[in-house]
């Protein structure tokens, strides 16, 4: 194609018709048709009143107007593809109509002409590209028009189109023009995004050009018996599809729908449609109903209709014991008698007595399934199917399982894009393609309980309320997840960036010393927030090693406050309670009220610090489990459902190696100089396995506190006391000597700074309390305590 110049003949019959059709338009057609009908009526009246001259005139003009209208309707409204493979025969009527005959066509004039087409606007709008910027970039475009036509032809063939659409040509220009490509990369756009939006447009075009579906003519309904009760307690999905002219596109050819069809053809009797929430179980049934409507089903399934039962409506209708069962029996009988009915039980667990608002209909449904007289499809989650197998194996064994898997990324993005078109129409907004990709990414990360594509569509719908000027962008999706999950996923705002850059200072506001530990942790958190860290692992994982009372737990609390905004954002487990091999089950339990379950804790609070105290005391099986948590950022509960730790900071603490640390520090050595020695010692002594140590992002050593640092801790504690006393407008201050005295009394080499709080209570708080009660201290007083005032 490159070697042979391709010329578009803009004076061909197709091109002329296309231009004329565009000029006339629908309004022109409507006017001609109205004039024609009116004049023909006038002609009849004139002849009736013997005004033959006016009658002939009206008849002549009316017929000409009618011919014009019919010509438009048949030949001009839709320009059929030409027979040859020449470009002017393969371009769509819309493109031929908007291409300028003068001046000579160039890439720039072609792009400008395409601006008259909504398809070009669809592409630029959904990619959030300013079209005038592209106009400027194309002014001196070196790419030849030949290459554009060749690319558009290639794309059109790949999409299976009968003609080359305006959107495809616009996409070809965006993909081939070097200056435009450079500009796109500034918007973080690549060829893949342009192709995806073009395919999205193509699906939309095919959808709008699809003829209205018919449910087999007027006699079709007579093939079924009357179903008054089913109409009351369910929804006729087949009729709903026909009424709303709904279309499920590629889903009709999905493997899941084929599996259901094949099971029904083999007289499976009842099918268990198994899939996680959001995977599209209901949509699969709608797609199945559409196949029946389109007459694409096999002979065995021809003329079937799908009726979905509403468990809630059945339960609310039952007024006395036994009525519920009676209704279900009547429904099953009615469906069987009406014939050609496939009964669909959505949320089927509600019919098996599982979950709130459920009832047990298995005994009623059992004979129905055994007789195979009524095809049933029951949709349920894998957990519910497993529960049914455990509770009623006889019933479960009669069901033919059809398992729906999550679609892959390209398929999911296609489904979400198609759903975005529906949302755009419903909410009158524009959903940018970047929003769709972001909804896919963020729902995958933060909505672990649901499956694709449902969870991405749900997030996109939530993002609509965060649209900026009626445009849903990636930022809108980020805002939606930030609001619903309380996590920050967007780029750091200047104020937040400042806080992150000064995280060490913020931590030191509540923690004294341990500079290297604080720096290690702050750096890891900055990496995570800036998006540099691996998103498939926890935000950070640290092993804090050091003697008791040196600030390990305090640092964990400080991280929770600085990163998650609240000191309470912490799941704390004492690992000495998990010393038995069976304790693994406790950690992985999915019981709602199991307080020792790590899985439940992280599901309730995914954005948290997980503090594993005395980690070395846990059973090796428990530690093996932690390997997976640190490595993959997830654990799987006893029911096989994953729980994500990707938004948590994992901190293990241990006193192991404390003596060695104390010895080295005592000799005046820097922490960094004996870090490796400590790690080697922990491994050689068998306290930690090397694979566990290697999984942590950082092993952070805490040194014993010196007297100066202990003095600062005392001052921090005094500040806390002053905060409490501020309600009584009393303040307290320690002299330097008093501080030294408290440090001497409160420091314990084995327990670190931990006894300091008790010492301060005894020495300061008790004394102040006595003064207040004796009336020696009151509002506005500032109490200065010297060494002699302390009660030690």
């Amino acid at each position: 194609m490159k070697n042979e110049p391709v010329i578009v003949n803009l004076y061909s019959k197709r091109a002329k018709n296309a231009r004329l059709g565009r000029k006339v338009g629908r309004k022109g057609f409507a006017s001609s048709a109205s004039v024609s009908v009116s004049l023909l009526v006038v002609a009849v009246l004139c002849f009736g009143f013997h005004e033959s001259r006016y009658g002939y005139l009206s008849l002549g003009i009316g017929l000409l107007a009618g011919m014009w209208a019919l010509w438009y309707k048949r030949d001009l409204a839709v320009i059929a593809p030409g027979k040859s493979s020449q470009l002017d025969d393969t371009l769509s009527g819309e493109v031929l109509a908007i291409l300028p005959t003068k001046p000579e066509l160039s890439v720039a004039t072609l792009w400008k002409a395409l601006g008259d087409s909504w398809q070009r606007r669809f592409i630029t709008n959904h990619l959030l590209l300013p079209p005038e910027q592209i106009d400027e970039l194309l002014a001196n475009e070196p790419t030849s028009l030949q290459d554009i036509w060749a690319k558009a032809t290639e794309m059109s063939k790949a999409q299976g189109d009968s003609v080359i659409e305006a959107g495809t040509i616009a996409a070809a220009i965006l993909m081939l023009s070097e200056p435009v490509k450079k500009q796109l990369s500034l918007y973080k756009l690549h060829e893949a995004e342009v192709v995806a939006v073009t395919k999205w447009l193509d699906r939309l075009l095919k959808e709008t050009e699809r003829p209205k579906q018919h449910f087999g003519g007027i006699a079709r309904d007579w093939a079924f018996g009357f179903t008054p009760l089913l109409n009351q307690f369910g929804e006729n999905i087949s009729v709903a599809i026909m009424r709303h002219n709904a279309h499920f596109g590629t889903l009709t050819t999905a493997s899941g729908v084929q599996a259901i069809t094949s099971a029904l053809e083999n007289h499976a009797g009842a099918i268990a449609l198994i899939g996680e929430d959001g995977v599209g179980k209901t949509s699969h049934m709608y797609a199945l109903a559409q196949i029946f409507i389109e007459g694409k089903a096999s002979r065995k399934l021809a003329y079937h209709q799908v009726i979905g039962l509403d468990a809630g409506a059945i339960i609310s209708a039952a007024r006395y014991p036994g009525e519920l069962e009676q209704i279900v029996i009547q429904l099953a009988n009615e469906a069987a008698h009406a014939g050609h009915v496939i009964l669909f039980l959505d949320d089927a667990q509600l019919f098996f007595g599982n979950g709130t608002g459920s009832f047990d209909a298995t005994q009623i449904l059992l004979p129905v399934i055994q007789s195979r007289g009524l095809p049933l499809v029951m949709a349920m989650a894998p957990g519910d199917y497993q529960r049914l197998r455990n509770q009623n194996s006889t019933f479960a064994n009669l069901l033919t399982p059809v398992v729906l898997q999550e679609p892959d990324e390209p398929s999911t993005l296609e489904v979400v894009s198609d759903a975005a078109s529906r949302l755009e129409n419903k909410h009158r907004v524009l959903i940018a393609y970047e929003a769709i990709v972001e909804a896919y990414r963020l729902s995958g990360r933060y909505e672990q309980e649901q499956a694709y594509p449902g969870k991405a569509i749900l997030l996109l719908e939530q993002a609509i309320s965060h649209a900026d000027d009626r445009v849903v962008s990636a930022r809108s999706v980020q805002d939606a997840i930030e609001q619903s999950r309380g996590v920050r996923v967007g780029s750091a705002a200047p104020a937040e960036a400042d806080q992150l850059l000064n995280m060490e200072a913020r931590i030191h506001e509540r923690m004294i010393g341990q500079d290297s530990a604080v720096k290690a942790v702050a750096s890891a958190l900055r990496r995570a927030r800036a998006g540099v860290a691996d998103p498939r692992r926890p935000i950070g994982s640290f092993l804090f090693l050091g003697p008791t009372g040196v600030g390990k737990t305090e640092l964990a609390k400080a991280i929770a406050e600085c990163y998650f905004g609240n000191e309470a954002s912490m799941v704390r487990l004492d690992m000495s309670e998990y010393q038995q091999p069976d304790d693994v089950q406790r950690l992985l339990s999915n019981g709602q009220n199991d307080t020792s379950s790590l899985i439940m804790a992280i599901r309730q609070q995914p954005f948290t610090v997980v503090l594993l105290d005395e980690i070395e005391k846990a059973h090796p099986n428990v530690l093996n489990l932690l390997l997976q948590m640190l490595d993959e950022g997830s654990l799987t509960d006893v029911a096989g459902r994953p729980a994500s730790f990707k938004d948590s900071i994992i901190i293990g603490t241990s006193n192991a190696g404390a003596t060695t640390i104390r010895d080295h520090v005592g000799k005046g050595e820097a922490l960094a100089s004996f870090e490796q020695a400590i790690t080697d010692e922990l491994i050689s002594s068998g306290q930690f396995k090397p694979e566990l140590l290697n999984r942590f992002d950082d092993i952070v050593l805490f040194k014993p506190l010196n007297s100066e640092e202990l003095g600062q801790i005392v001052q921090l504690m005094i500040a806390d006391i002053n905060k409490t006393l501020s309600t009584q407008n009393i303040s307290v201050e320690l002299t330097k000597d008093a501080t030294v005295k408290i440090v001497e009394a409160g420091y314990d080499a084995r327990l670190g700074a931990r006894p300091m709080r008790r010492t301060l209570q005894r020495a300061v708080e008790d004394g102040i309390a006595g003064r207040i009660l004796r009336g020696e201290a009151g509002p506005g007083d500032h109490i200065v305590l010297d060494m002699k005032d302390l009660d030690l």
């Binding site: 005139l57 002549g60 017929l63």
Partner: protein
């Protein structure tokens, strides 16, 4: 053609009288079914014939329309 209308059927009881009533009910259902189907088929057949006749008429009339239109205008203009 003679299937019961909208699958409305009665099931016979034990007595002869019940058997007779069920037979009568089903006969009525079948007759209604037959009549509805028969008239729908007749209507459909007639519709097809009318459409066919219109198509033939269109084939003949369509080429004449411009001539008729022009002739009518000329006749109106000429004294």
């Amino acid at each position: 053609m003679f299937a019961p209308w909208r699958r409305i059927v009665s099931y016979p009881g034990a007595s002869m009288s019940d058997h007779f009533h069920a037979w009568l009910d089903n006969l009525v259902s079948r007759i209604i079914g037959f009549l509805v189907r028969f008239f729908v088929l007749i209507t459909a057949g007639l519709t097809l014939i009318i459409i066919f006749l219109f198509s033939i008429a269109e084939l003949v009339i369509w080429p004449c329309v411009p001539v008729v239109a022009v002739a009518a205008i000329v006749k109106a203009i000429l004294p």
